[in-house]
Amino acid sequence: MRYDLQIIASWIEPGSKVLDLGCGEGDLLSSLKKEKQIIGTGIESSEEKVAICIERGVQVLQGDITEEVVDYPDNAFDYVILSQTLQQVYGPHKLIKELLRVGRQIIVSFPNFSHWSIRLQILFSGYAPKNRQLPYEWYDTPNIRVITIQDFRRFVKNTGCRLIREVAINTHSHDLQGSIITFLPNLRATFGVFLVSRRNNGNKGQP
């Protein structure tokens, strides 16, 4: 399983209810089902990947995450996971607000745009950065957002949410290996992983 998903999996309490947005082929959910007996459901837009999820016994809905998530009642899940997708979302603020409504806690991971190599690329080449985490040209990238670890921390603070856990990791987007970065994470980590909740759970959907 991808390294960031391993970190995420380690945060999930056994037996909890989990919603995985953009669940792909169901790697995370199927591992959590087996290892932690969670009740999970995934949302995925690709028919091919949805079929693989069902073949693996993972409950899944084919659809768009922003549209699918609104149908769930408040607090329907213990965790809502948005891994490596935030940078592709059209309305992140609205989506995160919605995720905090349907989940008691949300786990968000994204590529850190302020990694030193990206900074150097812009500084010296003058071109939009391209590397293993962000392997696209500006004109064909699905990543429409530039987010840094520092940006997300500030976002959590400004929107009045509670940052429960945060880990900065050095890994590549599909790698199984990686390491946790504690020193200068905003500069040295390629991905950030955050566990966030509403400030108080009575204050539904008001990040």
């Binding site: 028919e47 079929a51 999820c53 069902i54 016994g57 409950q59 809905l61 149908d71 009642p73």
Partner: protein, 393 residues
Amino acid sequence: MSEYSEHDRSGGSKVMVEKKFFTFGEPPNQLLLESGARLGPITVAYETLGSLNDSGTNAILVTHALSGDSHVAGCYEEGDHKPGWWDTMVGPCKAIDTDRYFVICSNILGGCKGTTGPSSINPETARPYGLTFPVVTIGDMVKVQKALLDHLQIRSLLSVIGGSVGGMQVLEWAISYPGMVKSAIALATTTRHSALAIAFNEIGRQAIMSDPNFNKGDYYQGPGPVLGLALARMVGHVTYLSDDAMRSKFGRRLQDRETLAFDFEANFQVESYLRYQGSKFTQRFDANSFLYLTKAADYYDVKRQHGNDSEVEAFAKVKARMLVISFTSDWLYPTYQSRNMVKAMKKNGLDVSFCEIEAQCGHDAFLLPNKRQHSLISTFIERLYEEGNSNAL
């Protein structure tokens, strides 16, 4: 649906099946219908494949669509070139593997393939019911299926599977018998007909009822409304296809000619095809059954019947693991209708999976060989079956 139009040439299947009959509801124990009328005795025609295991955990009910019947798979005799309507899906080592599962399929109430319907003899008059047959609903059809399963001593269903009007029966099963249904697979279906779907059914019914040989449904002594029924089938058939499918299947190609004939014979292939489908249908289907079954489909409304006008409430009691499948080119029961039922299921916290299969052939896609549909259905049931077995250990 076009159950038999596409499969006639698919070759003989080796599995032999037999049509059996079960009768219940002899007076004074007639079945109370949703309309309040009572009907009985009721005979049910059914076929089974595979065998029920000792723990009774491998039974699968397949529900057929408008023009289907109990002959879901296999052949009646050696050299029979016309296997059942879902022979591509049901059989040994197929998606619904009859080496593992016990499959039951019965002809629906109101049909004309052995189960009591308007063409059956009314024991009180010794004549066919015709339009004196009471209007039946999807709920009534499911009650009859339940009576059959009780008779077969099946107490639990690993799955109920069906498409289109069969899918409505699947939903009805999951809602009405939550304790009995472990999983439900609803293909290309809807919780209620749109005005568009009702409209096409009404055109079909009007075609039948305005046929000079209709005689208010009392036509069994004469030729019957064959022209009306053929026309109804032509209209229906168009709704089961898609623009794409028709373009690639027929385009504007001419039938057995190089140039336009400047007459009203079937110049285009599509005309000829529809005429053929229409007339073939009249040899195997009863016009009154067409009226009753389309009416039952039009009347079906999960919200009204089970949810005090709320679809969410209607699915509140469901316990089955649900799999909902729609097809991209189905404009009769478009994907949004499947999404709506999935939404109501989500709001109830049901275990539901949904997949929209990319398919060119319109509503009939669920009847045609489709790799994706095969793998989704086979793995979905297999998972559940294995989980059930490991829980039992």
